[in-house]
Amino acid sequence: MEDNFVEFHNVTKKWGDFVGLDGINLKIRRGEILTLLGPSGCGKSTLMRIAAGFELPTTGDVIIDGRQMADTPPEKREVNMLFQRYALFPHLDVFDNIAFPLRIQKRPKEEIRQRVEKMLELVQLKEFSSRWINEISGGQAQRVALARALIGQPKVLLLDEPLSALDLKIRHHMLEELKRIHRETGTTFLYVTHDQDEAMILSDRIVLMNAGQIVQMGTPDEMYGKPQSLFAAKFFGETNIVEGKLVRSADRCAVETTDGLITVEDKMISEGSRVYASIRPEAFVISNHAEGNIRGIVEDIENIGARTVCRVRSGSGHAYRAQVFRTSAISTPPIGANVALSCAPADVVLVSQ
């Protein structure tokens, strides 16, 4: 796989004193799905708009397939974008919307017909080709927009929070569709979202951004399992953060918290330093035995479909969320029960501020 198919080289974007992007260096591989993830205002959309050519970086440049893009206007870039609200032209029908890029290129009529039909097949909208844009549903509009963005065979497809306008059920279906279409076309996808679930399901790699900078990047597994900062740990799914001091004894390494010692793997962190332990709710084992790192009282129980999350208030007043899978073998403790929470040292991730 080509490692630097798309390259953001030291990209900075400033509006007056406000720094929107702060020296971004990022390489995208050919054919991968790379997701820019972050809270709103983190600069992910700006980075995408710079790739599309709608914004110019204050410094730095984008290199796509070996070509610098600084002087290339959006219409000359071999990059297409899937807009958040699709931006399908209401004065054209489904077929003519998809044919738009080819008509601009003045391709022959027969070629246009064949390629549009192929795209209609790809997005499974063959029988909708003569519908007007206001006669199709949100999910269908999404697929028309996808076909229109892909028909010109762009080197990179930019997807700007494409699922945010859809309701939850269609959203999951569309994620599958996007994966299938990615597989079938082999196009490089640069996907922007603020939803970590979408990012986890879809991406080959995730780039987590905050305040105009890249916080961490890696595969979904790495991002979830090995957050390198408090921000990353909190952003990916639910987690319990406990602050404490690292202590070492002859046989173990632990974090000394207000709720006692939590055993962790020894990661060569100097003794006595202040650290944050991130423990996922599913890493906890709830028991009514005395042994266990953290002891507390079940305060609340949330049933979320397949799993149950217990809120346990510890002696020091800290609330922990611990997950119990709903199987017949495991029973959920009742509210008010005295329980102990324990977890394997490998499941405790230490992060810095």
Binding site: G53, E75, F83, A87, P90, A99, F100, I136, S137
Partner: protein, 303 residues
Amino acid sequence: MSVDFPARRFYPATVNPLSIRLPRGWGLATPPVAFLLFFFVLPAITLFVTSFFAAQAFQIVPDWNVGNYLRIFKAAGFWKANFQGLTNGFFVATISVLLAFPAAFYVVYRAKTNLILYMALLSWFSSYLVRIFAWRTILGTNGMVNSALINLGLIDAPLDFLIFSPTAAIITLVHIMVPFALLILVSALQDVKAEYLEAARDLGATRWQVLTRVILPMCHKGLVGAFMFSFILAAGDFIIPQLMGGRDGITSGLLISGQFRSVGNWPLGSAMAWTLMSCLLIVYLLFVGLLYVARLSPGRRYH
């Protein structure tokens, strides 16, 4: 969206099915419909009926004939004046739209405030007549334009086509119409969200192609509205042609107002008015057809 709702029943089956059910929203639609009915449709029908009557000394005789139309058809003077009116309309509408469109584009996509729009609309605060006379001082023989050109040494004698000519009438009418055209185009362009323009650029369209393939078809209504609004008002105007148009600038509007106001031949005036209205309808159809042929109309399939 193609959601199929189950048929709704508005009243139980026991209610007399012969009773008239008013369409939804009739309460809101009634005042404008009533207004149009009383102040446009009824007068227009009255004029239409009158146009088949004959005028005799101080009275109108309802003798049902097409004499007025035959007279108009044969009168070269009317057609010359009518042509002048339509020429005024054409130039005023074309120039107004061409001037207003870039301004509207600026107001909608570039400007951070509506200041330009309000400044353009500010001219409505002064009276129609005052503005006409202002143009007389600007365009007159000793007016600003001529004196400036003479002082610059560009011309020796005042340009006589600047005042009391069709050109003068067109300049003044454009001044009156541009704010209307601007207002209509601004509201039409506001529906063409910037996202559509970006999408078109992204898909390979140059700025010109974005204009012709996305913006113009999408603001078709506004384009037709602005063009026809200024065309109709300019072609039918009888004050500016009278005050600015000079001898060559006589329009059918002026002749019609003459029939009603001085000659007193209402049937002939009515027939002229209906003739002018038919011409304007043809212009409308031609303009809409032109946009269609030029692929600037929405709702067309190209496959």
